[in-house]
Amino acid sequence: MSEDFLAVVEAKRFLGREFLTWLVHRIEEGGGRVEHDAQVTEIQLGDRIVLAGGADDRARLTLVDAGDVRTEMGAGLRRGKLIDRARLVLVRGERRWELVLDGGTLAYESVRCPVLGERDAAAASDPRAAFENDLFLRLADVDDALGVIDALFAEFCTLRGSAAWQERALPALRAWVDDLR
């Protein structure tokens, strides 16, 4: 990895963190429904959030709780941190995904996809065919979940690059942060 590339990663890390903060705000304000590929997915906030600051603020704030962490999250955001990682739950009908999104790098940890369905008869008796069957299904599940996150990132970027960001979105985010007490 070149020094230049690493410098870009570091300098622009905030973009992904802003996205994740905006996404959590969207979920918290009741906007967790996303339509992607003609399917509606409900996104919920999971039980783990990590906030991080910029280059001059190395302290990270990790919130792990099934309960209400809005007060602590608000305190971190008001100190200038952004959401760096968050566990997200994606629900579509009876199908459920869980993942930890690293906003700074758009990488995914602890990705848990819906339970694989029944294997067909041919696959059941052939381990190699069974593995390929499972791999296909799993890749489709991963594509599905990441496609939803990508659609949300595109929505954020469209907003972030428009006048509506300064006029409406940023003031709404700031008001939300101020209210998290």
Binding site: L15, A107, Y108, E109, V111, L146, W165
Partner: protein, 219 residues
Amino acid sequence: MGIVARSSSIVRFVAAVPTRFEREAIARAVSRRAFRALDGEGVQAFGWVGIHDPLVTELTPADLFLQDRLAVGFRYDRRVVPPKLVQLERRREEAARRAADPDGRLGREARKEIKVEVEARLLLRALPAPRLYDCVWNLAAGHVYFTGRLRAAREAFTALFRDTFGVTPVPLIPYLALDRLGLPSRTVERLRTVESAPLAVPAREPTVPHLPLLEEAGA
């Protein structure tokens, strides 16, 4: 952990498929860079293995290509010495040197030298710890899923991928993802130059009343 596992990590890379991409040749290139176990002195070893079976290192197109994807395993072995063992062996070696020295003292440089020697000696005796990851290259979309987040393994993977396929996979960080969202080019250009927007509401002006001292003094 692999993609099929109940839980896995996924890092995405961008890797456009080269114009010359012949499946038999690719399978030969992968097999040439298949995993080979560590020799006597190496600290790490890595290479391709079958995604369906990590013991398979002779890979054919049928082992690699699944419709429009290339799926292959990546094995990364590294010798690691437990830090506690290094610490204990250092103490033993330092005590032995002190006993052999009439002064019974060891300088900073000597202690540093002992540390390097002890680590190198123990490393050769340590068993390598194997790690297995999956690499799935979507040839139509030009992106790669890699299931490892360990930095050393990711760097080894990037180098091996480049050597094998002639393409350097670039991590899909938010800044680079902008190009793949289908946004208008003006929006992308604007986003490339945006600065971080502070979310904390600026501190309010203090509400303590100021006495009009100057006015009074002038009056």
